[in-house]
Assembly symmetry: C2
Homo-oligomer: 187 residues x 2
DNA sequence: TCAGGTGATGTCAGCAACTGTCATCAGGAC
DNA sequence: GTCCTGATGACAGTTGCTGACATCACCTGA
């Protein structure tokens, strides 16, 4: 243990979501967050690059899991299938935290600056997926297009999952969204 | 005419792209831009919401044209076809300014903060397209998925257009990208 | 056991993005 | 000619974010 309460980072992330939900993102200053978390503003910026990033701490883990799932998918599977399964698998990370995911999504939906960051993270997910597909030998532009289709399908699946009945799984919602995409693009 | 040089807005936009290209986005202050354009910093912020927005002045027009193209597409055309044609049509706006588009794309590619904004604009294009499709009677989730497919296809087409031979048209590149997407999703 | 290294934090000064407010001034309407 | 309007200037203030240096609990090795 350090000389202060442990897990300053975790506290900052929790407090930030709390305050963004209470007063809104713009009405919350970094000083507010730091104060409630019991640290200084400077410490906030040591843990998070900026005021938005504090809501996206788990995105690295998600990306890692996505890439792993793509790499370990059965050989010979069509790229779009690989992508569908990989996003469904990575999404399993969120299954147990549906409530947290919903609160977070609500905060993000309320602010364009946060939507920007989310879009950037999703694009990052897409780039990582593209690379992982290329590593499997999938040529361009199939790799990039399949990855982007995966991002879109993940987004739709996530929306349905957080706003739907608690019983349905995110994985199932993603697979369902892929079916819908096939229908639309094929027509 | 006002009491100052006319078209302060246009001058600011041109100068900003110039400086972002010369020194980079972060190394350019709003004061730099305002000074070279012959106005004050305050005037910059009267014309553009923030330092990034100055690069996205035409996005409203593009969105408008896209929506019009969707609304006026032949009845009975499958949504994905409507979208493909509409994005190709809207893209025609850029055809004559390929060089400008390339310079702009280079600047954006060099800075994550600008990429964020571009992603937000693209997402806005997607939302507008979704709405326009719904207005034609296309149900969900087909409307949203077709629109997002359009955004992806536009992005790939644009990339190929700016980096390819000057002879190929953006519209053709977009149509080509849609063909590729079909192949990937159908497999 | 203690000297020094290490990592996380505090403190403080400072820049630049952005906003609110009020003053200024050319041109058009009446 | 007076009033109104729209665009701009001037200026003060808040906040996000960074750099530089100090502090201090803990660990490590002699």
């Amino acid at each position: 243990m350090g000389r202060w309460e442990p897990d300053a980072r975790g506290r900052l992330a929790r407090v930030a979501l709390e305050l963004y939900a209470e007063r809104g993102f713009e009405q919350t200053t970094v000083e507010d967050i730091a104060e409630r978390a019991g640290v200084t503003e400077r410490t906030f910026f040591r843990h998070f690059a900026d005021k938005r990033e504090v809501l996206f701490d788990g995105s690295g883990t998600l990306e890692h899991r996505l890439v792993d799932a793509i790499a370990s998918a059965p050989a010979g599977l069509p790229p779009i299938e690989v992508i569908g399964r990989a996003f469904a698998d990575a999404g399993a990370m969120l299954e147990e935290r549906r409530d947290h995911a919903r609160r977070r999504a609500t905060v993000i939906a309320a602010n364009p600056a946060l939507q920007e960051r989310e879009l950037l993270k999703m694009a990052g997910l897409g780039s990582a997926a593209t690379e992982a597909l290329r590593a499997r030998g999938v040529p361009d532009p199939a790799a990039a297009l399949a990855a982007q289709a995966g991002v879109a399908v993940f987004g739709l699946g996530f929306e349905r999952w957080v706003s739907g009945a608690p019983s349905t799984s995110l994985a199932a919602a993603i697979e369902g969204a892929l079916v819908d995409l096939r229908a639309v693009v094929a027509s």
